[in-house]
Amino acid sequence: MDGKNIKLRLGKSYGFQWLIYILAFACLLPLLAILFYIVRAGITKINWHFLVNIPKPVGESGGGIANALVGSIIIILSASVIAVPIGIMAGVYLSENRRSKLAYWVRLCTDILQGVPSIVVGIVAYFWLVRPWDLGPIHHKGGFSALSGSAALAMMMLPIIIRSTEETLKLLPDSLKEAALALGMPFHRVIFKVIVPVGISGILSGVMLSIARITGETAPLLFTAFGNPYLSVNIGKPMQSLPLLIFNYATSPYTDWLNLAWGASLVLLLWVLFLNIFTKVITRKWKVQL
């Protein structure tokens, strides 16, 4: 081993170390750029007025995103109400039945569903829930509605919730279940009173992640919730949401509407950011030390 060889190898190692540091930092750059740009563009547009008013017709100044805010909240809440129970139950089923045939197919379909493009999900919801159809005694009137939008979003939430529930519960030791069973607990109580409470932190983080995912989804809502210039709380009728508003107003020629779009973008960004941070904090706080 001569000195020159060692120097070369050390040099290479040092160089690679720095390359890794630089590339890791480079990952931060897009996020920082987006944050910076949007904050700068949108911060001046946000005020109380902005948050509680609906958009004014073209030409009038002022206006706000109240209908989009309320709409987003209602649509996401409805989507959660649909997706969370189904997702958790499916996750519980998968973690309890590792090897059954049904479990195999459920897992496969979940994985496939995860990869389906969001616009395709939207189209499917359009065909099922928006177009009128007749099935003998059942007559579906059709029409754009917040509910159909929620259904589409729920379909996108499912794979995330199912997977994270399954993974969380799989990590729990068998001894927990055994202890509960040995105390004479029927199976459903073992799951809902012991297993799920202990794994609640992981399950909840899965739910939060799925909400964060769909908060900004636009494509599925394009032909389901459709959008609404007025504030509405009727889930059977079209409803506005933040991404839809941004989509529509950002490409319009009116400066008023452009301003609204910037402000809405910032609100959306902050919402997603807050949701992610909140998830992390809650998960750590509620994590049960096994």
């Binding site: 090897r99 030791p173 001894s175 927990l176 055994e178 202890a179 509960a180 069973l181 040995a182 105390l183 004479g184 607990m185 029927p186 109580r189 009173k193 012991v194 409470p197 202990v198 609640i200 049960v288 030390q289 096994l290």
Partner: protein, 252 residues
């Protein structure tokens, strides 16, 4: 006249085609401590789990033969009732990590949806913790989670949880193999006290423990019950050569 609390006749258990417990006939007397020992894979743990019907929870597991608790066949009863009468303590202490010590002891009632008045609950908790010599140590921290307890204390908490349900029989699956020697001896002291009110069946790898704590010992080998006798006799003059080879450590 001692009565028999658990009786097995021609009892067999399998995992699919793997026949692990072969034709076991045994009478377990009330208020005794029975040790069950044998080399790894001899079927002792499987047999134990058959007593309170935990064995059948494993997919592919099956059993046949008679297993009677007080003359009632355990396999004709609802498994929930069986497990309320026959409790189990496991190898690794497994208190519920999300519940406080108080809630852990009362877990058998609370999580089963059995509502009790607070006074009764308090009484059960105090009584159970006293029985396992844990009351004085934890009575001021009943609301804390059990994670600060040592291994031996956690195991005693699990025993308290089982005892709170007032079973007739308590099964122990290698209860001290995960504990240090001092914790082991505190748990072993418990056995002699628990004997007065319960029947204990202890599966153990530790022969000296079997010799120390039990009244009778059963030796399992390759799925069969080879010898079942008074512990004193088993360890001074066993009848079967296989038993002798095992306890003198002659297995290569």
């Amino acid at each position: 006249m001692e009565s028999t609390i658990i009786k097995s006749r021609n009892f067999n258990a399998s995992f699919g085609t793997n026949h692990v417990v072969k034709n076991v006939n045994i009478d377990i007397p009330r208020n005794h401590i029975i040790a069950v020992m044998g080399p790894s894979g001899c079927g002792k743990t499987t047999y134990l789990r058959c007593i309170n019907r935990m064995h059948e929870l494993i997919p592919g597991a099956s059993s046949e033969g008679e297993m009677k608790l007080n003359e009632e066949d355990v396999y004709q009863m609802h498994p929930i009732f069986v497990r309320l009468k026959i409790g189990m303590v496991f190898q690794r202490p497994n208190p519920f990590p999300n519940l406080s010590i108080y809630d852990n002891v009362i877990a058998g009632y609370k999580l089963n949806g059995i509502k009790l008045p607070k006074a009764e609950r308090d009484e059960i908790v105090e009584r159970s913790l006293t029985k396992v010599a844990l009351w004085k140590e934890v009575k001021d921290s009943l609301n804390k989670k059990g994670s600060f307890l040592s291994g031996g204390q956690q195991q005693r908490l699990c025993i308290a949880r089982t005892v709170a349900m007032e079973p007739e029989v308590i099964l122990f699956d290698e209860p001290t193999s995960a504990l240090d020697p001092i914790s082991t001896s505190t748990v072993e002291e418990l056995f002699t006290e628990l004997k007065a009110n319960y029947t204990l069946i202890i599966v153990t790898h530790n022969m000296q423990q079997a010799a120390r704590v039990s009244d009778k010992t059963a030796f399992f080998f390759l799925g069969e019950l080879v010898e079942y006798d008074e512990t004193k006799t088993m360890f001074t003059n066993p009848k079967d050569q296989r038993t002798q080879n095992y306890i003198t450590g002659r297995f290569s």
